[in-house]
Amino acid sequence: MSALKSAQQLQAKFGDLVGAPAEFRGEICVTLAAADKIAEVADFAKNSLGFDFLVDISSVDNHGEDPRWTVVYHLRNLAANIELRIKTNVSEEQSELPSVLPVWRSANWHEREIYDMMGIRFSGHPDLRRILMWEGYPYHPLRKDFPLAGKPTDLPNVAFTKPAPLEGGPFVTVAGGGDSIGREPRVRNPEE
């Protein structure tokens, strides 16, 4: 069974909820229209289509657009050696979707990381704590409106975090510049 066939089976099962499979560089991606159905889709993908390995869950901040969040599930069928990607959009007001932890137990830390970095919550997660930043940190630092240098916060009894000095940065490389001067890291502040 190919990844395309799996995507078509998903479409056949869930009808209009699952969009047409898009192919990019040999990889198949489907978009799920309703984020609150992700747990059922995941259950079907694992138990009927054989996607027994959750490679990763990642999230995208489409800052300034609506819906703001895109959550991406990377699935793998180890027996058939195929991969499938499922994308679903979540609005900023909602910022919550069902956990797929009952389907793949490895989703535990992936979902915690997304909660920590992006602030998207997963309903039904048994232990939705921060995983990288410390408990009590007030921001979600991977959001596009969070400055690279950080914001001042208080780490009780230990340290006060100031914005990191960027010394004129951030220093950004531009792909496809004509010569090495055009490509090398330069001060390119998007806020200016």
Partner: protein
């Protein structure tokens, strides 16, 4: 086998007694038995391991006893990137070390935050603990660690050991009266 040396202490000439100050003797002990607490947090810790292994051999300076318990250590070598999340742990470990204690910030990250100009990284470990020596490099070579250790020994030797203690001051005051 004859072990006589013209340079070393010779009890036949100088007798069985050495006269020195308690301060100097204690500092001499301290400087030559600095037990490090290897606070290995990133790649600098690999170079610290090399400094402890046979090729560079930190035991020539009396510091081969790496203590992973802070209660048995004299000198915390902060080797690596200190994130804010780890900062609390580091401070707690430092607080558990008995006096006298020293801190070496090893490498760019521990000294200044290094290349990590970011919301997650403490910009220099001297924000939370007092640092005696900074080692430059990313990561520094083991020779640099040994150099820092020798500089720390030189610093320990010059530090007042007993004469600042209140009991000594009181006794000295009594003898003057």
């Amino acid at each position: 086998m004859q072990t006589k040396s013209d340079y070393a202490y010779d009890s036949k000439i100088e007798g069985d007694v050495i006269v020195t100050r308690v301060d100097a003797a204690l500092n001499w002990f301290r400087a030559n038995s600095v037990w490090p607490m290897p606070m290995g947090l990133a790649c600098c810790a690999i170079e610290l391991m090399a400094a402890g292994a046979s090729r560079f051999d930190i035991s020539r300076f009396g510091s081969e006893v790496m203590r992973f318990s802070p209660r048995q250590a004299d000198c915390m070598i902060v080797a690596g990137t200190v994130t804010y999340k780890m900062a609390g742990v580091l401070k707690r470990i430092y607080d558990q070390m008995p006096e006298p204690k020293w801190v070496i910030a090893m490498g760019a990250c521990a000294s200044t935050g290094g290349m990590y100009r970011s919301y997650a990284v403490l910009q220099g470990v001297d924000n939370i603990v007092p640092v005696d020596l900074y080692i430059s490099g990313c990561p520094p070579r083991p020779e640099a660690v040994l150099d820092a250790l020798m500089k720390l020994q030189a610093k320990i030797i010059t530090q007042p050991c007993l004469q600042d203690l209140n009991i000594i001051k009181t006794l000295a005051g009594q003898t003057q009266n």
